[in-house]
Symmetry: C2
Subunit: 386 residues, 2 copies
């Protein structure tokens, strides 16, 4: 296992598929010991979601490295005993069931808190444990739609566009991980465990960022803007001779330097483009003028020239290009899992780089279903201590 | 100020614009005392970014509630003295300069750690403090392009599409907030402060989710898919008679129930749609068949029917609809700032809901530039203690 700031922390993990497993994977990457409690026979649904490599889910492998697995039926008395013994040892319990499920299992917060006063209980659900939608089911796609990000993403007039990664789940996972840190800090100082009620929809609202300010200031709900930033111009994708590239000239000084660098200094003097506000209003004319100049070279050529002038810019990389990028590799953002079935597998590293801990370039692979079941039943967390 | 798990925590905040200020706003929402150190005269650039209400930036207000402001020139000896006295009191120093800036100011990590051994130092930058791009400038738009999310977002064949919120900045803010929790926990147990080096680009890689698994499994870089999920079908936006809506039927049982609910039970028996894998392969035919049925009623009518059948679904809300949603309001995800210049302002709440703390429906507004400058120069953090 990985040594980190959460080394020694014991996590009982009931989560499935994405938001919860991503959060507990980060806990494992930060040193925690995570026991994944899965339903017997089928295990986590993510084990059955593609893509597969040698019949093993790469999707599951991307979310569960470094965890330990035990299969328990939480409706069976003997298995509930095992589960409760784990809770007595644990610092954190995490689940991402639909609201109401833990109550049905007899593990409501009042009961948990009375029996395990130091236990921190993290519940992640689509809509949270209060409010009119509290028992509704949700997936990433539903909260992307309901939470507003889809209304801001895409090109005007086009069909609805999903954010290409599961930001509904991952946003919740990161607020949950942040909240856990705060709850652990509070417990270190007071001894008190508490419950975190994280709703995927809430997290989408918190990530709407300046779209809320724009609505509040103008009374108009903002729409999608393609690749443009809503209030900074030029700050978008622009076509070079071969392919589009990103240019982000966020203020007048950078804009003037950009105009010089691309051989169009007259643009900086143009009344239509003299301030960010003017550029924002005349963005279509500015895009046409910039792309006329940019059409004379390739994106790679322009990136060198514009970067040398000190202006933030860059390519639009696909996943293959991202994973091959020398900076991404140098930051150890591509780590290797050694899997007994699949062999070596490259996956994303941990972006929390800490000076007190080394950032290993390898990670343990994922557990088979119930791989440590017998040992954990006998010895609890001691069976899987690092 | 807000009482929370981070009450008593002292934060010196050098951050500007977005990633850093969002992170320290969350710290303030969780109870920390945040002193925002701004350059004299101009202050944080975000004060000058629209939209404006009564000449005050709503953008700045959406990122800096509950903080205190002092204007300091970190190149002037007297102001450096004030700054260093604040560091001696502080638990956390946060900055989001370009890599190398703190070294130029004489505040490199070795110096900080030697003088203030318990201080936790959080650096957020575009590319991090190591690797070949470490001194390059970056903005959200640049890391959205370089980090791969733009290659996954949008409709096939369309121009590049930005995620409609600044996920490049906000993703980094949330990994930073998560890392701070871990570093604080470590310090509580060991007394040791440490440095966190958070790169916006690293965070984008960590958020690519199943796109990396798909690339690793197939050798092909995945492309944009409009509103579809890459490996679950049906899980997308579908046109009803009046407007599109979300349906997320993530497994065979939900799919069969969906077909019944929309009056097309024959689809569940169709060989082309008999498994998730088959549905994924035949997604175009399935979309056509589902939309033929869905064209008979409005989105609101279908949402009631499909929801009653227990299938995750929902509307595609714009920001106005999000802020008016009764569940969003009941979860206190729309909070009120009382601002002396602007009056009452509605902004997003805090999605980290904790059982040990109340979640106030109001928040303090933002400080004027150097509002507490004189008091902080005289009394340090005591001047702004809650």
């Amino acid at each position: 296992m990985t040594a980190g700031p959460y080394s020694g922390l014991k996590v009982v993990d009931l989560t499935r598929v994405l938001a919860g497993p991503y959060c507990t994977m980060m806990l494992a990457d930060l040193g925690a010991t995570v026991i994944k409690v899965e339903p017997p026979v089928t295990g986590d649904d993510a084990r059955h979601i593609g893509p597969f490599i040698k019949k093993k889910s790469a999707y599951f492998m991307s979310l569960n490295r470094g965890k330990h697995s035990i299969a328990l039926d939480l409706k069976a008395t003997a298995d509930r005993d095992v589960f409760e013994r784990l809770l007595a040892e644990a610092d954190i319990l995490v689940e991402n069931y639909r609201g109401g499920t833990m109550e049905k299992l007899g593990y409501d917060w009042a009961t948990l808190h009375a029996r395990f006063p130091r236990l921190i209980y993290l519940a992640i659900s689509g809509f949270g444990h209060t409010g009119p939608y509290k028992t509704k089911p949700a997936y990433d796609m539903v909260v992307q739609g309901m939470g507003g990000v889809m209304s801001l993403t895409g090109h005007p007039g086009n069909p609805p566009t999903r954010v290409g990664t599961s930001i509904g789940d991952l946003g919740a996972a990161l607020f949950a991980l942040s909240g856990l840190g705060a709850a652990l800090y509070h417990r270190e100082r007071t001894g008190e465990g508490q419950k975190l009620d994280i709703a995927m929809l809430d997290c989408q609202v918190a990530l709407l960022e300046n779209a809320i300010a724009r609505y509040v200031a103008t009374g108009h709900a903002p729409g999608p803007l393609g690749s443009r930033h809503p209030s900074i111009t030029p700050f978008a994708a622009f076509a070079a001779s071969d392919r589009p590239m990103i240019i982000a000239a966020g203020n007048n000084q950078l804009f003037a330097r950009l105009c010089d660098a691309i051989g169009a200094p007259e643009l900086a003097a143009d009344e239509r483009f003299k301030s960010n506000e003017a550029r924002n209003q005349n963005h279509a004319a500015l895009t046409a003028a910039l792309e006329a100049a940019l059409s004379k070279r390739t994106a790679d050529e322009w990136i060198k020239i514009i970067e040398a002038a000190g202006i933030p810019c860059g390519p639009i990389n696909n996943v293959e290009q991202v994973l091959a990028d020398r900076h991404v590799i140098s930051r150890n953002m591509v780590v290797t899992l050694e899997d007994p079935d699949v062999g070596r597998l490259k996956l994303a590293g941990n972006p929390i780089k800490l000076s007190s801990f080394s950032d290993s370039s390898t990670r343990p692979s994922v557990p088979a279903l119930d791989e440590s079941g017998t040992a954990i039943r006998e010895r609890g967390f001691k069976a899987v201590a690092p």
